[in-house]
Amino acid sequence: MTANSPPTTQDTSALIGCPQCDAVYTLNEPKFGETANCVRCGTRLISPRRKAGLQIIALSLSIAILIIAATVFPFLTISAAGRTNSVSILQAALVFTDGILVFLSLATAALIIFIPLLRVLLSLYVLIPLVTDRPPAQGATRAFRLSEALRPWSMAEIFAIGCAVALVKITDLADVQFGPAFWMFTALVLLIVLQDRLLCRWSVWNALDKTQI
């Protein structure tokens, strides 16, 4: 990347900037388990962990399997006065069928099922070659950028809290039983949060950068 060398003689590859407040630091890679935070605004810049790649791959695989299973198995079952009704997560997401509300169905399904699923698949695509010391997969940087851009739109954990609220509202009205998908979804949310905590974005970008040259 010599074409991008700055007007000063300084090599910018030895620098790191804070994405939140634009402060610049000389890069001083922390050891495993340590964290480098921005001194000015406190944003976490680098937080490498030993074996994080393998752990994230394992978590991502479990998340992908759990999402698919949790989507199709019965999620909750309601019964009152001899009548029962059981739904899956996909059915819950696609409940908005009244005219223009159809768009809301698509959005809900994307937010709680498809975006989380796409994000784990993208992270598997990016991380597996890196962890196994192979050259990055084709379009890996684009894949990881997409995965990062989708991060705020992955709302599985919010759906889980929504369940809790809905359950309390319904229990006066009828009996509610938890299906297998309910427990899968609970585990899923914990794994998604854990995976997100483990992932050090800077380390992934750095690894992608090094292997490309």
Partner: protein, 233 residues
């Protein structure tokens, strides 16, 4: 993680812009100021997003406009053996409170009224505060921005509650719940306020402070060496 020692160091921190460089907001790689696309991650980079505030306000207004019908149209239609009932967001919470479910009423009012309204106010405050001098410290505004970005997504909870209830409570004549038009407007309002917060360039918060300290430390400002990031075990 331990907090950073900030005292006395603020004036030493240089922004990429003041060093003639630009930071990629996606992967935090630093480049020369005129680099259009990050050579590491391919993200489009701009030293400062000039259109940031315009987009913040435009999306903010759309979000606000969607929030009005979200409160006027019914959110839930409940049909039981004896009666048919349509309730708005606030109406539904008031009903719950009348039935004695104070906790749930509070959660719903918190997620669907307090959070969205606070979010509108907070984004407006941040956008105004970078356009004119503000007495609130950049730290507090940065924290406010991070809270807004984090909590904005959680307003979606109401939509998910409606989805679960409406899909589950389908007991033919006994009781049926179906979603109302307000759910669409509410979701749109949440999405547009999230986009509005994302359009905000938080680096603008720190530029004003940098300008202030630059005039203050104009004599001591000699070196251009960036300082080292501190590590905490």
């Amino acid at each position: 993680m331990v907090g950073m020692e900030r005292a006395g160091q603020n004036s030493d921190i240089k922004s990429a812009r003041s060093l003639g460089m630009v930071t990629c907001r996606r992967c935090s790689r630093v480049w020369a100021a005129d680099t259009p696309v990050c050579g590491r991650c391919g993200h489009h980079i701009r030293s400062r997003d000039d259109t940031s505030l315009q987009r913040v306000w435009a999306l903010w207004f759309v979000g606000l406009m969607c929030y009005v019908p979200a409160n006027l149209y019914p959110m839930l239609r409940t049909q039981t053996l004896v009666n048919k009932d349509e309730s708005t967001i606030i109406g539904g919470a008031v009903d719950l409170a009348h039935h004695g479910s104070w906790g749930i009423a509070a959660i719903i009012l918190f997620a669907s009224v307090l959070i969205p309204v606070t979010k509108f106010l907070a984004v407006a405050f941040l956008a105004i505060s970078v356009a004119r001098p503000s007495r609130v410290s950049p730290h507090h505004r940065q924290v406010l921005f991070e809270i807004v970005e984090y909590i904005g997504r959680w307003s979606m909870i109401d939509i998910f509650v409606v989805a679960i209830m409406a899909s589950l409570v389908q007991l033919n004549t006994l009781a049926t719940i179906s979603p109302g038009l307000a759910s669409l407007f509410f979701a749109l309002s949440v999405i547009f306020t999230m986009l509005s917060a994302q359009a905000f360039d938080s680096r603008l918060i720190w530029d004003a402070q940098a300008r202030a300290s630059a005039t203050r430390n104009v004599t001591s400002n000699t070196g251009t060496d960036p300082i080292k990031a501190t590590h905490t075990p």
